[in-house]
């Protein structure tokens, strides 16, 4: 028996992988071998801890020390100090922004304190490639319970009791979705997991697949049992190689162990799973387009009805849920719908994972109970805005969502509250913008995305988003015309009401949302040819404030096109004709003497 006295958990999610976790764990191993510790200390590569900003993350148990931004050079010190001598390496611990003292334990970090990890419960806690670790965390108990003690209807009832709603964006009650699929009579049915996560910045589905793939396998098998399907497919984008690899390993392990296959846990129920790779089209997250793509056809949506629950994959009744939705389900079956319903708000039960991004200190993945306020997420968990800048807005719901200004910071984050203020939950992207953000430019950015991702099938979305983008480009280029705002509004109306699928129907949202709260910024761009946030290059005009300029010549030296002239210790001047508005002078000026 191995006498393991310490576990080193190294995050091997995509975030930490790109910041070099593999090199860190190799260096740790090498150092441990050098000191003869490799037999008593075990390195485990886990899924995402969520705190990607601080990666690569290394956690050492039993102490539970949470080391951040660890480099291969730190390995030797961690081994000799922590593992050998038992001294915590304070230098590498997390420090709260503004906080003086480092925080040793992961549970004490503000980022985690307000979180409640249900969907992410195993992410970062277990070796994602080890089915036994999943089982040790009560994995596959829910499936065992369902197939031996519950009827399919009872399983669906439990789900309905939980109040779980689809986490992919729509928020449709999951229990009812299962009920519909169960009600359609057919010999052959399918369960599909939508892992075509496409919102910019959102990566909760990827993290779950990377960190806890067995929870998805278990949930899909549960779904198969509940609706009467024997085959499932996970539709995952090919850009998620780690997720695909871990999921493949997990499916193989579940098959070998006899969890997937026939007569699951001695019952009559059998289930198997396949992986289908998507090529990264945003629209393939739309369920009918996803089905089309699995079938090997062009991934474009088709009109509904008929809904997939009636006619889905290969015209058979098909249940489609997204990854995060599935990740909640084993816990619901195991602990009961009431347990889940005890979290969250009246109409939005449980927790929701958000991907924090943008101008925020703690970017990463957080899971909070429904009903947590935006303020708590942004400030208490997210650590606020870097550089002491003011909060301007935050975008929820990805490109299809809305932008909420500061006065909405106390909005409770749940499906209905967000809709009520003109935004949406979406799949859980949360992008924070500080005072230096131009909202017209933000709208342009998101529209660039939606128009680029339009499948091109229906005319309003294909042609309309292109024209909207052209108008926005015109406005941010200082060529906005009177009537542009109205034209944008009219186009938005047609696109959102007449488009074929949800992507098209929500494609104009970035414009509508920013117009709603920041119309004055559009007007400033069009009427005054001014970008209030100082972002839109074409609208900037650099000049040196005579009173402030000390004539230090730094700006002159920084200017790449020799547009600045002036003698030493005398105010300098910018030649507007030559200026390319690169901002190099502003960055160099120690006296804040350059305005734009």
């Amino acid at each position: 028996m191995d006498l393991i006295r310490s576990h080193i958990l190294v995050c091997a999610g995509t975030g930490c992988a790109s910041s070099g976790c593999k090199k860190v764990s190799n260096a740790m191993l090498e150092s441990m071998q050098k000191h003869g510790l490799d037999k008593e200390v075990k390195i485990i590569e886990t899924g995402c801890f969520g705190f990607c900003m601080m990666g690569p993350i290394v956690m050492i148990y039993p102490e539970g020390a949470f080391y951040c931004q660890v480099t291969p050079e730190d390995a030797e010190e961690l081994v000799t100090e922590h593992l050998l001598k038992g001294r915590i390496v304070e230098r590498l611990l997390f420090k709260e922004s503004g906080g003086q003292r480092p925080v040793a334990l992961f549970n004490d970090i503000g980022f985690y304190q307000k979180q409640n990890r249900v969907a992410l419960r195993n992410c970062g806690a277990i070796d994602a490639e080890c089915i036994e670790e999943y089982i040790a965390h009560d994995g596959y108990q829910a499936l065992a319970k369902a197939v031996t003690q519950m009827t399919p209807a009872e399983a669906i009832d439990e789900l309905k009791k939980s109040g779980l709603r689809g986490r992919g964006g729509g928020g449709f009650p999951t229990g009812r979705k299962w009920e519909f699929a169960a009600a359609t009579k057919d010999e052959v049915k399918y369960v599909v997991c939508n892992a075509d996560e496409g919102d910019p910045g959102a990566f909760m589905d990827r993290s779950i697949l990377e960190g806890d793939p067995h929870s998805i396998i278990e949930a899909m098998a549960l779904a198969g049992y509940a609706i009467g399907a024997r085959q499932g497919y996970v539709y995952v984008r090919a850009e998620y190689p780690i997720a695909v690899e871990r999921l493949s390993i997990a499916i193989k392990a579940a098959r070998e162990m006899g969890i997937l296959g026939n007569n699951i846990f001695g019952s009559d129920f059998g289930f198997d799973l396949g992986i289908r790779l998507g090529a990264g089209a945003f629209v393939c997250g739309e369920e009918t387009a996803l089905i089309s793509s699995i079938e090997g056809r062009r991934g474009t949506p088709r009109p509904r009805p008929p809904y997939p629950a009636v006619k889905g994959l290969w015209n058979k009744p098909t249940l489609i849920n997204n990854v995060e939705t599935f990740a909640n389900i084993p816990q619901i079956i195991l602990k009961g719908g009431e347990w889940f319903a005890s979290m969250g708000t009246e109409k939005s039960k449980g927790t929701k994972v958000f991907a924090l991004a943008g101008n925020i200190n703690n970017t990463g993945l957080v899971e909070v109970p429904m009903g947590t306020t935006l303020r708590e997420i942004v400030y208490d968990i997210g650590g606020g805005i870097p550089g002491g800048k003011a909060f301007k807005a935050c975008q929820t719901g990805g490109p299809s969502g809305g932008c909420l200004p500061a006065e909405y910071l106390d909005t409770h984050v749940d499906y209905d509250s967000l809709l009520a203020v003109g935004s949406m939950m979406g799949s859980g992207g949360l992008i924070v913008m500080d005072e230096n953000t131009c909202m017209v430019d933000v709208a342009r950015f998101f529209l660039e995305f939606t128009q680029d991702e339009s499948c091109g099938k229906c005319i309003p979305c294909r042609e309309g988003t292109k024209r909207m983008l052209e108008i926005l480009e015109r406005i941010t280029n200082g060529e906005g015309r009177e009537g542009d705002i109205e034209l944008l509004e009219e186009l938005s109306e047609t696109i959102s009401r007449a488009s074929l699928c949800g992507l098209g129907q929500t494609a104009p949202n970035p414009v509508l949302a920013t117009l709603r709260f920041f119309r004055h910024e559009y007007e400033a761009h069009i009427n005054e040819k001014r970008c209030p946030a100082g972002v839109c290059q074409a609208l900037l005009s650099y000049s040196i404030i005579e009173d402030k300029c000390k004539g230090c010549t730094l700006c002159k030296k920084a200017c790449p096109v020799d547009a600045i002239s002036g003698d030493v210790r005398k105010p300098h001047v910018i030649d507007i004709e030559k200026c390319i508005k690169c901002g190099a002078c502003v960055a160099k000026c120690p006296f804040k003497a350059i305005s734009r």
Binding site: P305, Q451, G456, P460, R462, E493, A498, L500
Partner: protein
Amino acid sequence: MERIKLTIDGIPVEVDPGTTILEAAKRIGIHVPTLCYHPELRLEGACRICVVEVEGMKNLAASCVYPVSNGMVVKTNTDAVRKARKTVVELLIANHPMDCLVCRRHGECELQDLSRQLGVRQIRFHGEKRDIPIDESSHSVIRDPNKCILCGRCVRICEQTQAVSAIGVANRGASSIVTTPFNHGLADGPCVGCGQCINVCPVAALAEKDDTERVWDALNDKKAHVIVQVAPAVRAALGEEFGMRPGALVTGKLVTALRKLGFDRVFDTQFAADVTIMEEGHEFLARLQNNGPLPMITSCSPGWVKYCEHFFPDMLPHVSSCKSPQQMFGVLAKTYYAEKSEINPASIFSVSVMPCTAKKTEAARDEMNTSGYQDVDAVITTRELANMIREAGIDFANLQDGEFDLPMGMSTGASTIFGVTGGVMEAALRSLSELVDGKELAHVEFEQVRGFAGIREASVELAGKKVRVAIANGLGQAKKLLDQIKAGNDEYHFIEIMGCPGGCIGGGGQPLSTDPEIRMKRAAALYRQDMLKRVRKSHDNPAVKELYKNYLGEPNGEKAHHLLHTHYTQRSKY
């Protein structure tokens, strides 16, 4: 079955479950404009022109795909509906070349019609427009992706009706285009040139290769002896181009119009069709006696022949080696006719008027020069001929009837019905019965092979033997039939395949329409013409008898074989 009750624009209507809003509206005389919708094709719901308001729904519903439900309240004429439709058309036009006045579909353009109908008066968007090279690689079909509005009808008919899939949608969003695999020219792929895509294209994104200039040039050439042949189906459809009712038979006016255009001789492809029956009939008998290969499949339809070369190369030995009537005519014109009329074949310019775009590609095949010259110099479609007649200022509807020139203008009722599905089979059976059994048929109509079902089959007695025949029209149906045969489910002796639905009357070069009712009217016209013919069996055609007696010798004999038969080439799909 329980009926569904709903109201549309306040009018109650009762329909069967599964009916779409569009169909229900049509039932009570409410017009809803459509664009990507086509009654013969799979529903897409893509263009959003047909949107309507459904009470309780946040968004507008595409009426062509949205099924009715009980108690549904539909409004087809609200401000939101009109605005949405109008904006959609405006958006399409904003990305469309504005060369309507010189466009070949001017006046026959559904986008133009919609714009007028919906009152689009200004285009408020002046952004980037597509700029994609025009694909002129094919002899049959020209693609101008800049005019394409991506309704997908062409893609659907090519896949669904014709089982070819030579084109599909590529790229996404604003860069979406209908194109070929790997953007190769249409000529480099499996396109059979049938032109069905042209018939369903609402704009000028797809059109036949225009060969009228070459014909005008020949007509202007004083030294050229310009002759023309006309396929049977042309006479049953050309009138539609001049406001005549579908099914009007315009044989006589057609002849007069061709003379007025300046053709030196006006001949009839039907003469060659009678020759085809002689050759094909004897080939069939030979195969029947020499154990195959059977079934023998007709080779009149160049779309079908090319389809077989791409998709069923293993079936090529089953295809009759007979050239099509157009090509038999071509070779005989520059040999037999030239010799008989003492005209230098080099000076003959041979034009053919066809209901078909695939005929253009067929005439350009390398092997089609047994006369020592290109057998057929130019092929124009029914539509192109109509354009020439209009351009010449000829008042077609009021022309006097004319008669074809001899000898190659003489034909029988049997060759007339070549233009409709089942016609070649019927013509062959008329002759085979008499040639084999030696006694005159009391009743020349073989009703059992007529009709419009995609696949039909029948049994006939030939020399005491039961011969099983089958007929398929449209390549999708042909594929179905061949798959069944290959699976060993059916055994036939003789099969007629036509590339287009309904046969040549539904060809890709006919006046624009894919309406099955119009096809039936054109077919009826040909059957009427058959009845009017004095001679109704190919082997009784005196001009054909003379051809064999004085020139060719035996049907299927050495000379006939050299001139009138051909071979096929296996072709890859991509």
